[in-house]
């Protein structure tokens, strides 16, 4: 009994540094985050654009990154490719269906530590009302105190999105879009 108590106390002590996973909110207010996409135009060039409105929160502990969780919401109607007529086209019912499905969501289900600050974030992506598993390759860029009394950690993530998976109209051979997500979280 005594041994068990000591053991559990020791385990508790050992767990201590692992137990400081903190909650973070993605810094959208200061715009230290962006959701960008690129897709080939006619197969001749990369068209880039972004979603201006989104929000997200996650928890993260550098000592135990595999315990991390993230949920991220993107306002599809905020698509911005620097051309209003194209934005209107991409938001219509055949393409992203933004009027009926204004929000796209990614929720992580597990995180795999690949070493050197690299993570594989497995989760479910909901776009145009369709939910499919998706994996984001993420890399920690840095973390630490900010000059204003807060604490921040930032990541960069990319994933390849298959348009057919979500019922998004495909033009020519442009069947996939690369999502490039930059986030900086402020510890709560």
């Amino acid at each position: 009994m005594k041994k068990m108590m000591i053991a559990s106390a020791l385990t508790g002590l050992l767990m201590m540094p692992l137990a400081n996973a903190a909650d973070y909110i993605v810094d959208t207010r200061g715009a230290h985050a962006s959701v960008n996409f690129k897709i080939k135009h006619l197969g001749y060039s990369w068209l880039t654009g972004r979603f201006d409105k989104f929000d997200g929160k996650f928890n993260y502990d550098s000592a135990n990154p595999e315990a991390s969780e993230i949920t991220f919401n993107v306002d599809v109607t905020s698509l911005n490719s620097n051309h209003a007529e194209r934005d209107k086209h991409l938001k219509n019912d055949e393409v992203l269906g933004a009027s009926k499905h204004a929000t796209a969501t990614f929720t992580s289900t597990s995180v795999k530590d690949m070493g050197n600050g690299n993570l594989k974030i497995v989760g479910n992506m909901t776009l145009k009302g369709v939910t499919k598993p998706m994996t984001i390759d993420a890399e920690k860029i840095g973390e630490g105190k900010d000059p204003w009394g807060g604490y921040r950690v930032g990541f960069s993530g990319t994933t390849l999105l298959s348009l057919a998976d979500f019922g998004v109209q495909i033009f020519g051979d442009s069947s996939h879009a690369t999502l490039d997500i930059q986030i900086e979280g402020i510890r709560q």
């Binding site: 109607t77 209003a84 007529e85 209107k88 938001k91 020519g172």
Partner: protein, 181 residues
């Protein structure tokens, strides 16, 4: 001679404006209806909207001139045989057509200029943008543009049916007055 209206007849300029604009309105409706479903790889995918916009901007200029032309001179009186309700309904229909035309053209302008880009008119000049005035302007303006286009089509058909009714049923001068001097 006969350029201006008098109390009995429309002048040539009013007649010409009426028919040119009627043609433009129906043409723009048809072109717009057809072009929004064009395949991205169609050779008309870029030409049709460009033509639609150029004609639309020209129509705004004609609209402004037509209203000016209408205000600075008399309109022919209603025929004595026109019943009071017919006069009321026809005046309301005319007003509605003017207001709808203007609203549709402005909303069309707002779709294409939502990102700060101007509208190129027949490759002659570029009408500048006023910038983004409301959030998701291209979507909001697009919705208005589409719904009102269907409404004006309905009102214009009603207007045409009324003219035919005057010609074939009432056998009066209503339609003749807008056809020849």
């Amino acid at each position: 001679m006969g350029l201006k209206n008098n109390s009995e007849r429309y002048g040539w300029l009013s007649i010409a404006l009426h028919w040119i604009m009627a043609l433009a309105v129906f043409g723009l409706f048809g072109l717009g209806y057809w072009m929004v479903d064009l395949d991205y790889y169609s050779e008309w995918y870029r030409r049709a909207p460009s033509l639609h916009k150029s004609i639309g901007i020209t129509l705004i200029a004609l609209w402004i001139f037509r209203v000016f032309w209408r205000v600075i001179q008399q309109s022919p009186k209603s025929l004595d045989t026109h019943k009071p309700w017919e006069r009321k309904v026809s005046k309301l229909t005319h007003l509605l057509l003017y207001v709808l035309m203007l609203t549709i053209m402005i909303s069309g302008y707002l779709i294409s200029t939502a990102d700060g880009r101007g509208i190129e008119v027949f490759n002659l000049f570029t009408l500048p943008s006023l910038g983004e005035l409301v959030t998701n302007q291209e979507d909001v303006a697009g919705e208005i543009h589409e719904v009102l286009a269907y409404i004006i089509l309905g009102v214009a058909i009603l207007h045409a049916l009324a003219a035919l009714k005057h010609h074939f049923i009432d056998k009066d001068q209503t339609l003749i007055r807008i056809l020849r001097r």
